[in-house]
Amino acid sequence: MAEQKQNKEIDKIVGDYKYGFKTETKSVFNTGKGLNEEVVRVISKRKNEPEWMLDIRLKAFHHFANQPDPSFGPDLSDIDYDNYTYYIKSTDRSENNWEDVPSEIKETFDKLGIPEAEQKFLAGVSTQFESEVVYHSALKELEDLGVIFLDTDSALKEYPDLFKEYFAKSVSATDNKFAALNTAVWSGGSFIYVPKGIKVEKPLQSYFRINSEQMGQFERTLIIVDEGASVHYVEGCTAPIYSRDSLHAAVVEIFVREGGYCRYSTVQNWANNIINLVTKRALVDKSAHMEWIDGNIGSCVNMKYPACVLRGEGAKGTTVSIAFAGEGQNQDTGAKMIHLAPHTSSTIISKSISRGGGRVNYRGLVNLAKNAKNAKSHVECDTIILDGLSKSDTIPTNIINNSDAQIEHEATVSKVSEDQLFYLMSRGLTESQATEMIIMGFIEPFAKELPMEYAVELNQLLKLNMEGSIG
């Protein structure tokens, strides 16, 4: 009991979201609360979109309206879709010069600690503020290579044919309820096209933020890696804290063409009042390789299952993920690997930690279809539960439809190893130092895949979250 009490006290101090501040910004245009066909039409019109996009939006909207909540995972019946604003535009046009960015918005970024200096290191920064991209810069280097790195809205205007060829081809308008919602009202997000044979050495990076209270954010990311090309895209999320629930339903579509390589890294760190329902799917062609590096630390309800559809011979899919659930959080995450072609292989490594009454679930799917001869899949899920209030379920689905393929699945759930604790404490560490060290070691397979500054930030965040977990 004493432990719990102490935990609670510490939670009071550190439990406040680190980035819980809010800047007053004046919206230039918004659609008001609620969602109906008219709102969808207004969004499309406002953006001057071609007819086909409006058609897709409407089709998706009707699917969304008729679709029940998913039969699995956290309870979403509390979401009141009429209580959100589906489109807000805070400045009228996209900026590509730092000097032109309004100072208020800059302030927010400064507090967040997106360093200006780092832009030189990072190949491009496109920062989403509310629904529209307000800051966007791509280094000349990228332009010279022929890489297209834009916000999704501009990409639709500037490369309509390319856009039409790929949009909603991986995650269709009617894929699932929240993908449909996103397709109906999407706004913002990143668009990346890497031409044949081009290898982008530096990671591309984008920061997303939600700012207005109770505003849903529905960004749409589309990445196309052409034959033999390679790219590493980094997405980071931080958001101010609000009193009411906020909804985030993103869609990420990735196409990795023959021999291509794509790595998509995320550290999702929404404030603890955000409901995060994300559909991420990559179509992977012959000999191509897709990697999802997926961290889930924030949000109150999180449903996210990055998927690889391995449709070309010898395609490879990897997912390395961590999930951390603290008080009041429900992290329902996992990975999907769908093998459609021979000699495909996939690996899923998932590490989960729960504490303070949090619930962390692994929900995964590995499906080896009939044609997936000699396909191999390896899944590892490990969970550490730090205290008696927290919970964890491991719910994998393994399906195999031919006799030449193989699935291996392993999972463990336990508390922090007492032997390890004892050893470290015998070396002079306190219990909390020792626990911290063990947890850091536990997530090492994930952290080492991140760019350095992200790994540092992740470690800081986890340490902050872990404080007071030992009584």
Binding site: I385, I399, N402, I407, A411
Partner: protein, 418 residues
Amino acid sequence: MTEQIFRNSLKENFYLDSETIINLRQKQLDNIKQIDYPKIGKIKLGKIYLENLNVKYNSEKTVKILPRNINNLVDDENNIIIIKDGNIIYNNLDEEYTGVEIISYFDALQFKNENALQIFNNNFIKENNNKLMAINSAYQNSAILINIPKNKIVKSTLKLHIIGENSDLVHHTYIISGQNSEFSIVEKLDNLKRIDVNYVSEVVIEENAKLNYIGIDRLSEKTNAFIERDCLVKDNGSVIYALGQLNDGFTVSNNIINLAGKNAHCESRNILFTDMDNIHAVTVRVNHLAPYTVGTIINHGIVKDKGYLHVDGIGKINQGMNQSNSQQHTNIINLSNSAKVYANPYLLIDEYDVLAGHGATIGKVDDEQLYYLMSRGLSKNEAEKLIILGFLYPLIELIDSESIKNSFIQTIESKLSI
């Protein structure tokens, strides 16, 4: 409900029952409509008509010498009990069994054994949580009670043959292991004619008792079966719970072990064989309802032809059940390109001071093992056979009956046609 059941009115079919029991059956019957099927993956049980039963009481006489068709199923061994269509027709128990109460529902009615009837009547009274269990309660036409008294230790294994022939079989087995008792039982389920089977067994392991319970299901083609085995283990109780599932027809098999007492221990070892165009849905669930409980699940499955095998292994540790250990191994060998295998090992953990783990593999016969054996001069067939028989070992080593063990191996061999 289906026509057949309405046509056979309850009173006529279950003419041995008292008025009260008939009323209870009627009540269960009314319930059936309101309760759902158990949920197993994507299998739509409603389409299989597991409720389409033609049930009645059958009377059979006790025999000294078994008729030929039964003798084929049962080898000459000691300690055999055969219950056919609800009647115990044969038993040759040793003296060692004195004190162990083994009685069928019919005998209990006939000899007015109030204690036994009280236990049997539980089935008609209890609340059911799925449609198939409710059907069992409403239509039970065969039941047996094995009551092992306190401190009774029986060394030899009881072989219980449950056989259905003349109507669909709705059977209920009760096993009560009294405190400090030790007992082992091998149970085999057969049918002589094409019938449907709804089978439920309930096992209670009292404090400190030990039980080995091995169930072999060998139902023939086109026999739809629902088989539920529930087990409750109290303080320091220990159970080895094994299942050999070799049915040739559609089968739903639910196996639930509740570790309800401190230090309760269970080991569930299951061999599943699915071939032809069969659908087998198997659930093995261990609920840790007390601290210091240990549960192990081993599922070995072989899938052939157009078989469809769905295995859910579930380890559930409730909050506060500290120092519990839940382990699971599911290994499936898939021999066919037209087969479908779902293997889902779930861990549902609400407590932190525990150990839980599962491993699952699905694949073909291991290439390296094959290569090794073939390099020693075995043909590919022989090598495969050896590997698969080794794969069955976790169950075979438990079967303490030469005849059942041999018939088990023979069945597998003939199914593999090796």
